[in-house]
């Protein structure tokens, strides 16, 4: 279960973004614990586009190594919750 209201909201926004970014994917198909690769068919191009869209939408930077290690929708939402809450210019 998502731990906070903010994280739940991020999860919902993330599902919308995923559906808008990944071809042939609907919001209804995206569960919080869906694996990007195994359940949603997110390949490397779709993953890259998703990360670029996240950076653009939330004005944050997702380092490539971190992006490579995020495998589920919930993991991305948790990362986003931390990144959005962090003060601008903070260190990793």
């Amino acid at each position: 279960m998502p731990s906070t209201a903010d994280e739940r909201q991020l999860l919902d926004e993330l599902r919308d973004l995923l559906a808008a970014t990944v071809e042939d994917l609907t919001v209804e198909e995206i569960g919080p614990d869906s694996s990007l690769q195994d359940d949603l068919g997110v390949d490397s191009l779709a993953r890259l586009e998703l990360v670029a869209a996240i950076e653009d939408r939330w004005q944050i930077e997702v380092p490539q190594e971190q992006a490579d290690r995020l495998t589920t929708v919930r993991q991305i939402a948790a990362h986003l919750a931390e990144a959005v809450a962090a003060p601008a210019g903070g260190t990793a």
């Binding site: 808008a20 970014t21 071809e23 890259l48 586009e49 670029a52 869209a53 490539q64």
Partner: protein, 123 residues
């Protein structure tokens, strides 16, 4: 000299172009400015960019596809005669050095809506 790694990849040109159009920030994550432009300064076409994306995917495979490689730490550039070459820096150069890669070979192609690339890492 010996072959340290080989990578191959394909990209659907139409899909790649749609992704770039939908998410313009993707281009900056994938390519250096020098790769986005032709020698004359015009924007490079989507089929050519898709082939370069395939080359970077193929390069990552040749290096064992470790996490954390920056896409912009690999550059596809073109010799005067038109032959594509690879230049690596930063995260990609570090991984290549770890494996003992001394030189790169790359071949690009696109036809029938598909762009493809083969990369050989030689040490």
């Amino acid at each position: 000299m010996s072959i340290i790694g080989v990578g191959i990849d394909v990209a659907e040109v139409e899909r790649f172009g749609a992704a770039l159009e939908r998410t313009p920030a993707l281009a900056g994550r994938l390519f250096l400015e020098s790769e986005l432009l032709l020698p004359g300064g015009e924007r490079r076409g989507v089929a050519s960019l898709a082939a370069r994306f395939a080359a970077k995917e193929a390069l990552a495979k040749a290096l064992g596809a470790p996490a954390g490689l920056l896409w912009t730490d690999a550059e596809v550039w073109v010799e005067a005669g038109g032959r594509p070459r690879l230049r690596v820096t930063g995260t990609v150069a570090a991984r290549a050095a770890e494996l003992g890669v001394a030189s790169w070979h790359v071949s690009l192609s696109h036809d029938a809506g598909i762009a493809s690339a083969v990369v050989i890492a030689e040490g």
